[in-house]
């Protein structure tokens, strides 16, 4: 009886494996000739706010050493480029249930010139992010966002702390000492995202065939959303204007 069952299960198992591969498993998607790409250009025309605008002046710096520059002057955040504040990512019901292997390399959310760099950091679920302090003063990075609450405490120049993000969602990151500092970590369910270059061009490669929603995150919020369908490994153009 057992032999009969074993024989009848093999065809079913092979069919299941074939279906799994067809549905866009990353294991197969990387090498599949059906994988396509989404490319496009982001055009920002809206007058943007200074995303990490520091206070004009530190009132109570007269009691201690000033953090930078002449005592009590406003800190000078380094300029934020488009590649540091925009992300395009894909969402799809068909790939939502899959799990992707997170990268072993740790993306970095820098604390530099009293500013977080980048302003927006996209990662896939399960990724560990490093938070190095490259300023000559303390920072205290924290987040009260539901997917991952953390408080890294105060640490000096040259030291770093790490946090692993195991749940998808939007993580708002702040500094407890410098209230103007803020950044966003997008913990995504799949690795199909891209950071544009400073001219706004982006490419998301190795995208399995299927229907997707392409989303543009800019600064602190989601500002654009478009449908895109990949068929037979073709390249699809998606442009965003904001």
């Amino acid at each position: 009886m057992m032999n009969v069952r074993r024989r009848t299960m093999w065809p079913s198992l092979l069919i299941l494996i074939a279906l799994w591969a067809h549905s866009g498993s990353p294991l197969f998607a990387q090498e599949s000739s059906r994988a396509g790409e989404i490319r496009g250009k982001i055009t920002i025309t809206k007058n943007e706010d200074d995303l990490q605008k520091p206070p004009t002046v530190d009132r109570y710096s007269t009691h201690r050493l000033a953090p930078a520059g002449p005592s009590g002057s406003a800190p000078s955040p380094s300029a934020m480029r488009l590649s540091e504040k925009a992300v395009v990512y894909l969402e799809s019901e068909s790939i939502k249930v899959q799990s992707f292997v997170p990268p072993t390399a740790h993306p970095i959310l820098d604390q530099r010139d009293l500013t977080f760099h980048p302003q927006v950091l996209p990662i896939v679920v399960g990724t560990t992010v490093d938070f190095p302090n490259r300023d000559i003063l303390f920072h205290n990075v924290f987040s009260y966002s539901q997917p991952k609450e953390f408080d890294l405490g105060r640490y000096p120049t040259g030291e770093s702390r790490s946090i692993r993000f195991d749940r998808p969602g939007v993580i708002r990151v702040y500094c407890d000492i410098h209230s103007h500092m803020n950044a966003t970590i997008l913990v995504l369910e799949n690795p199909y995202f891209a950071v544009p270059d400073d001219q706004g061009s982006f490419v998301i490669k190795n995208v399995p065939s299927g229907a997707y929603t392409a989303k543009l995150w800019y600064g602190r919020e989601l500002v654009g959303s478009q449908s895109a369908v990949i068929r037979n490994g073709e390249a699809v153009i998606v442009n965003f204007n904001y």
Binding site: H63, R64, L65, A66, I136, F138, R154, P156, S179
Partner: protein, 371 residues
């Protein structure tokens, strides 16, 4: 409330557009207070539970790259608006490498800094050296009056709250050393809040702070000035009011690392008092140490030990202290509802040392929001 809105409307309508860069921010807090039923000045509302509120507004006006106008207002439930800070700040004055500030602002004495505000204060109250009114007023008094005033909270503080005073200051950094030199109308213990200089001599203030490593700063401040700001009573002798000086000095430390923050301060003040028969030097010593530890995101605990000690005064063969020695412990927990909202539950116990005095306590529930 109408006055607050009127000031806000005036500022936003007429002043703000004058500057290329104006920022308005602030914080509001509401509090439930329950204290012991004592006659002590540490009791609140005679021990009857009461609510209160506080509103701080900060206006920064950037006139040019190195010139700023700074305004703070502070308002309590009595709706009286205090203009704590109305100052003109010039950075790197004439490229000389130091900064200049003039107007009304917090004098560079001690390291209270931002902890005076509810969202930055780990606990509820300020340390005794900033809050407690001693039995010595800034006017001519007799020995008997000083002794009768013990524990009644009618005199000067050691450090007058945030030391907001009218004056001018030069400050800057030299390597790891921060320096500030200032002159003001009042004294550290009795600021000239909204009044001209009473005695014609300024309060002279010097502060130095040294930061050898990140997160650790030691500082020291000193000041001297005639302290008899109220001359409604005539002097017993012909020495002149400028003879009666307050000399005050303090040392402080600030340390932070990981999830620990620590602050400490010790103050010594001496006054030359024109008593009825002679001029007498009396002193007071105050201190506090406070710490905060963040256990996990949103939640922290904090505690402070604060004390005051007073010298003895000769009076007909006995030598009582001119005010009662005190010790106070304040401890509490804080929870951040979100990034801008903090709720605190704090308990404070105050005890009089050496003599029998009231056993004061205070329980506080405070919600603070910054915007």
């Amino acid at each position: 409330m109408k006055r607050i809105l009127a000031v806000l409307a005036t500022v936003m309508t007429f002043v703000a557009p004058l500057y290329s860069q104006v920022q308005l921010s602030g914080e509001a807090s509401s509090v439930l207070l329950m204290s012991a039923r004592t006659t002590s000045p540490r009791a609140v509302n005679k021990g009857n539970p009461t609510f209160g509120w506080r509103l701080d507004l900060f206006l920064d006006g950037k006139v040019s790259d190195n010139v700023y106008i700074l305004v703070n207002t502070r308002t309590f439930e009595d709706e009286y608006i205090n203009f704590d800070y109305v100052a003109l700040r010039i950075l790197n004055l004439a490229n000389l490498g130091f900064n200049f500030q003039m107007g009304k602002f917090d004098m560079p004495f001690g390291n209270l800094a931002e902890r005076r505000f509810p969202t930055r204060n780990f606990l509820y109250g300020l340390p005794l050296i900033y809050e407690y009114r001693t039995s010595l007023p800034n006017q001519v008094v007799s020995r008997g009056e000083v002794l009768n005033n013990r524990g009644r909270g009618v005199g000067m503080r050691l450090i007058d709250l945030g030391v907001y005073d009218i004056g001018a200051m030069v400050y800057g950094d030299a390597g790891k050393v921060h320096y500030a030199v200032a002159a003001s109308n009042g004294t550290i213990s009795s600021t000239s809040y909204g009044r001209p200089n009473a005695d014609g001599d300024f309060n002279k203030i010097l502060r130095l702070a040294y930061t050898p490593v990140m997160g650790f700063t030691v500082g020291a401040s000193a000041a001297m000035a005639p302290y008899l700001g109220d001359l409604t009573k005539s002097l017993p002798r012909d020495a002149g009011s400028l003879h009666y000086q307050q000399l005050i000095g303090e040392v402080d430390v600030e340390f932070s690392r990981d999830r620990v923050l620590f602050n400490g301060e010790a103050v010594y003040s001496q006054w030359t008092v024109p008593f009825e028969n002679d001029d007498t030097d009396i002193w007071a010593l105050g201190y506090y140490a406070e710490a905060k530890y963040t256990w996990f995101p949103r939640f922290y605990t904090a505690a402070r030990v604060s004390g005051l000690m007073f010298s003895r005064l000769d009076l007909e063969g006995i030598s009582p202290r001119w005010d009662n020695n005190l010790i106070e412990i304040e401890a509490g927990v804080g929870y951040h509802l979100d990034r801008n909202s903090l709720v605190k539950l704090v308990r404070r116990e105050t005890r009089t040392l050496e003599v029998t005095g009231p056993h004061d306590n205070l329980t506080v529930l405070q919600l603070s929001v910054s915007f």
